[in-house]
């Protein structure tokens, strides 16, 4: 599907989600409680068939933490960006998508480690890079008094 067709298809299928054309790819923003169902549909629908999770990243915003999924279909070769926000920053929780794309299991561990987002139903959530004495460095309010010297 071309980007326009994708946007038209998703707008009709998900009237309550925000679908728009981004800088390069179509972007769909969906609330955290509907994100999992949307992504099951994105993978299983034969006309969409997003079977390859390219990249999963977390971004810290003042009111919430956003998790961004870059998806590609290896069959149709179209690309989409799915975004979903946690309810708040203090108890940032989302549903895992590792049951849809196994690679998400590892990307989610990274997000849990560096941004402190907990993923429900995750098979083995653990910190990859840092030990428990650290906070979550990619959060904007993270202060490292030992290693960073402010001038």
């Amino acid at each position: 599907m071309t980007n326009e067709q994708l946007i038209a298809h998703l707008t009709s299928a998900y009237p309550d989600a925000n679908v728009k054309q981004g800088n390069q790819y179509p972007e769909i923003t969906v609330s955290h409680d509907k994100a999992h169902a949307l992504m099951v549909h994105l993978k299983s629908d034969a006309s969409l068939a997003f079977d390859y999770l390219v990249c999963e990243s977390g971004v810290d915003y003042p009111a919430f933490i956003q998790v961004v999924y870059h998806l590609e279909s290896t069959m149709h070769r179209h690309f989409i960006v799915v975004k979903t926000n946690t309810e708040n920053r203090e108890t940032a929780t989302l549903e895992t998508v590792s049951d849809i794309w196994p690679t998400a299991e590892f990307h989610e561990c990274e997000i849990y480690d560096l941004l402190g987002v907990t993923f429900n139903n995750h098979p083995g959530l653990r910190r990859y890079f840092l030990d428990d004495t650290w906070g979550h460095p990619l959060r904007k309010d993270f202060k490292d008094d030992i290693h960073v010297v402010e001038r």
Binding site: N23, V68, H70, E110, F129
Partner: protein
């Protein structure tokens, strides 16, 4: 004797307990500081849990305090064997965001450097994984021929490993006057050397027994686990970014995306050998046709990206490398995420190595071509 041992192992009378063995973080076959917590029963691998983070340097956090030209210099510390491709990814992302059209000359130079870098990387992979499997001679052959490429790099940009040759808007210097001559001489020489590589290892019966049919990854699993690069293509997953989302001078040239079907260690091995031939074909198409012109466009002193999100994918020697920049309009980014190929490739190890022997785990690791700073970032 072997039959008796086989009988003892297969009967339930003698049964060993599962035990845990740490492979690494200081182990030659992990190619860096990676720890594999393996659950073994005798020689059989039951579970592999990779533990990473020993050289996590927080590059993504550092980028938030740096300007875009500075970020380029950090990226070649990740996958140091694909330094130029990593540099290029950030440069392309910045150029696309600012809608800067770089001169044709820059596109050609970058693509030639990409392919030279891929050759150098595959040479090091070839020799190091030969060493993993017990063939030390390979190590000397590979490093000897890689030296020629590093000399070409050094002549043009002064660096051998972490090139820093690409900058937003072009390349840092024009190519050295001897560049074309030396590259052509290298290709002529290496076309004769590469069959030696096959004679030394690929046709070796011991080597074939160690790799054929070992560690099979199916196409479905390759897609599901996001295994890209030669490792993914060996399973039949068509994932070459150069082909599907061409950048720089790749749209102008004809080349094959080498594919395999078996998905075992030997196919992954063979595929990288074939890629080296293809890389030489690509360079030969470009080297005589480098257009005249500027080697960079003039960029503003302080580069500020417009507000928004930008994603750029390139094909490194290991697979798909992605740069995701979130900009709030300032001179440094709000957030940068690097999608490194090694990260996704590494975590399939558990899925593939289950049920194989511990020596096969080494063969699987070797043919996955992992670079640890690329995983840890």
């Amino acid at each position: 004797m072997a039959a008796i041992i086989e009988k003892i192992i297969t009967t339930d009378e003698i049964k060993t307990d599962e035990y845990l063995v740490n492979i690494g973080p200081q182990h030659p076959s992990t190619h860096g500081v990676l720890r594999l917590l393996t659950k073994l029963e005798g020689e059989i691998v039951h579970n592999v849990e990779p533990h990473i983070g020993y050289i996590h340097s927080g590059i993504e956090k550092m980028t938030e305090a740096l300007s875009y030209p500075q970020i380029v210099h950090l990226t070649d510390r990740m996958d140091y064997l694909s330094a130029h491709m990593n540099n290029e990814a950030v440069c392309l992302c910045v150029e696309n965001a600012l809608q800067v059209e770089v001169p044709e000359r820059v596109k050609y130079i970058r693509t030639i450097f990409d392919e030279l870098q891929r050759l150098a990387s595959h040479q090091l992979w070839w020799c190091a994984s030969g060493m993993d499997l017990g063939a030390l001679t390979a190590f000397f052959y590979g490093l000897r021929d890689r030296e020629d490429i590093l000399d070409i790099f050094e002549e043009t940009c002064g660096a051998r490993l972490t090139l820093n040759y690409s900058v937003p808007g072009g390349v840092m210097f024009d190519i050295h006057p001897n560049f074309q001559k030396n590259v052509k001489a290298f290709i002529t020489k290496f076309r004769k050397k590469l069959p030696e590589y096959d004679k030394l290892l690929t046709d070796n019966i011991i080597f074939q027994n160690r790799t054929k049919g070992i560690g099979i990854l199916s196409k479905e699993d390759a897609i599901a686990y996001g295994v890209t690069g030669p490792s993914g293509r060996a399973s039949g997953f068509s994932c070459d970014v150069r082909k599907h989302h061409p950048y720089s001078a790749y749209p102008y040239i004809k080349f094959d995306e080498k594919m395999g079907t078996e998905g075992d260690s030997f196919t992954r091995w063979k595929l990288r050998m074939d890629e080296m031939w293809e890389s030489m074909n690509i360079i030969e198409q470009l080297i005589d046709n480098i257009p005249e012109g500027d080697f960079a466009v003039k960029m503003k002193g302080v580069i500020k990206l417009p507000e928004g999100e930008f994603y750029q994918r390139v094909e490194t020697a290991r697979g798909e490398f992605g740069v995701y920049i979130v900009s709030d309009g300032k001179k440094n980014p709000y957030r940068v995420k690097f999608r490194s190929p090694g990260f996704s490739n590494l975590f399939t190890i558990n899925h593939i190595a289950k049920g194989w022997k511990i020596a096969d785990l080494v063969a699987i690791m070797a043919t996955f071509d992992l670079v640890i700073p690329d995983i840890d970032r």
